[in-house]
Amino acid sequence: MTAATVMSGLLAVEVPYWASAIIKVGVVALVVPTAALVLGYVFLLKMMSFMQSRLGPMEAGPYGTLQLLADGLKFIQKEDIIPAKADRTVFALAPLVVLVSTFLIYVVIPTGPDAVVAQLDVGIFYALAVSSLSVVGILMAGWASANKYALMGGLRAAGQLIAYELPLVLAVMGVVIQAGTLDLQKIVTAQAEGEIFGWGGIGNPFILTQFVGFFIFLVAVQAETTQPPFDMPVAESEIVGGYQVEYTGFRFLFFFMGEFGTAFAFAALAAVLFLGGWALPWGDLTHWGFNIAGPVIMLVKVLAVAALIFWFRFTYPRLREDQLQRLAWKFLIPLSLVNIVITGIFKVVL
């Protein structure tokens, strides 16, 4: 996603283990805040403002680009308040758990033939597993705040994230069946080298065959990142921010970064799974040039998916808790099961 990612990918084969490990850590540590900033600026500040007939920030930096940095500085200056009755350790740990789960997803997202921090055989499995770690952090925050609104928010989040983990995994399953692998890198190559009825002009991005899976994935991502129409855990007008209600300053900033970092990570996952990832269907996929072009291609696709995610966010009202559960269990999960069955049948027949 950044030049540094590419560097680490290029260098990974040459430098000693400890050096590459440091570079990788640095890259991930750099990518998450940058991703949060980019999404926050482009979508939260600008796109949302235009949709709501406002200008958004205009004063800080050219076209308001530095507004989020100013906001970040402001958060850091704020007093760090821990409520008197809060469980101090858990309260302090919770934002870190959320943020770490976000960081961990980035480890497996490939942005070029070598530009990947860790190429795991079970990459997608790992990504979905660590992404659900954030539930723990949110529950911790809700419980430790010693606040009724926070507790309700934490419990709502737990119920919601568990319910939507399932359709998320099942939606990905169709892609996995079609690609025949759990490795994200191989999923990318499978799409670039694939053919549509013998025609390989644009490869075979899985969105063409797995459009149902893509739809379910997007809905589930919306719920995973607790964005409207599934933002009950933070619902400002009901439970006033939910689990975030007692957090101030940089701890609140951590939640904020976690939210946008996760949105970016899931958009990247969607780009890899459904839109062909970093690869272009023509050209030699092992060429080193893709280590430089890959991140750019990825970024374009990620922003396209993120635009969809945020478009929903600014458009829809919020569902009720029971309606959300009903949607997950009675609609999305059966639909994704049907999708898997159909994919399986085609896989066997063709």
Binding site: Q52, K148, A235, S237, E238, I239, F314, Y316, R318, E321
Partner: protein, 392 residues
Amino acid sequence: MTAVSADQRQQLAYVATQAADARLNVEIETEGMTLNIGPQHPATHGTLRLVARLDGEQVVEAEPIMGYMHRGYEKLAEVRTYPQVTTLINRIDWLGSFANEVPFILAAEKLMEVEAPPRAQWIRTVLFELSRIANITLFLGDMAVQLGALTPVFMAFRDREFVLNQIEAATGGRFHPNFDRIGGLKDDLPQGWIDDTKQAMEKMRDFCDEFEELVLGNEIFQARSRGIGIVPAEVGLAYGLSGANIRASGVDWDLRRDGHEALAYDQVDWKVWTHPDGDSFARYWVRLQETREATHIVDQLLDGLPSGPIMAKVPRIIKVPAGEAYAATENPLGEMGYYVVSKGDLVPFRVKIRSASFSNMSITPWLLKGVYVPDIITILASLYFILGDIDR
């Protein structure tokens, strides 16, 4: 040792299970949680406090506690001269402030036995409807934001400006015009105002069309508001609901048509909208239709605006003869009335304000029983109260 018979063993086993069940019940039975919603809570737009006893996400009972914003207008009115009172009562329902002035002035005019000239009555009615549009426009956006959709409220604020600009052009005040006088109005309309207002009404009709699709047509909005907070007509009447809240329950009652006040509503052709369902969706729907109807009323009134003076003959220093009078009008929030008692002084002896939101809120303990926490917000938003109108 005597052997235990099969019968006895069965009985003992039964007792044991019962005891185990009872123990289990004691363990599982949880204490309800008392949740203080407000006085500082975004959904109470102001300082309403709602004490809700919850069982999980379900409300066992909820009680609204009012008075956090009591400003004592009834008492303050007793030490203000009649023209000064309008400045105060402007601030009761702060979104539709001109509408607050009208019933008080009408009550005072009744006592003085003056009647405003026709042109003044017509302009009064026009401004009254403009305040209604400005007020309800914000409700249309606000209820959407309470349900989690951020965008409509910005559109509502944007388009409300068209109306506020017209109110400002005519009266000099955007929110607190203080324009109504006993016996007429402060000023005549400025030049070009009629055409500008008609254009603004055209824009407000576009706004209503847009919201009918954007909000009322949204599946999630419907899922959240249909069947939520149903007020049967007889219950609503028993609690003293008025305005769009009772019309959404199918009661065809509107003081603009059924009241006795001398405004110009009988001169134009318009319709009272009702909805049979009585739920939150119906309340939103009725208010949207009323906003559109109000733009038609304004258009017709402006077309037929009579010429003539805007002020009746009233003494320079207003002394209201002794007596009592009540005047009520159909304000944006519902029936608003002033009971004015005069002892023949410069100041009223007693003013009782009947504000719509106070009565509309009284139904909440009945309505909130057994609903989920998110539905509290839907119901509060759809009942549409303004804190100033509750606490005065």
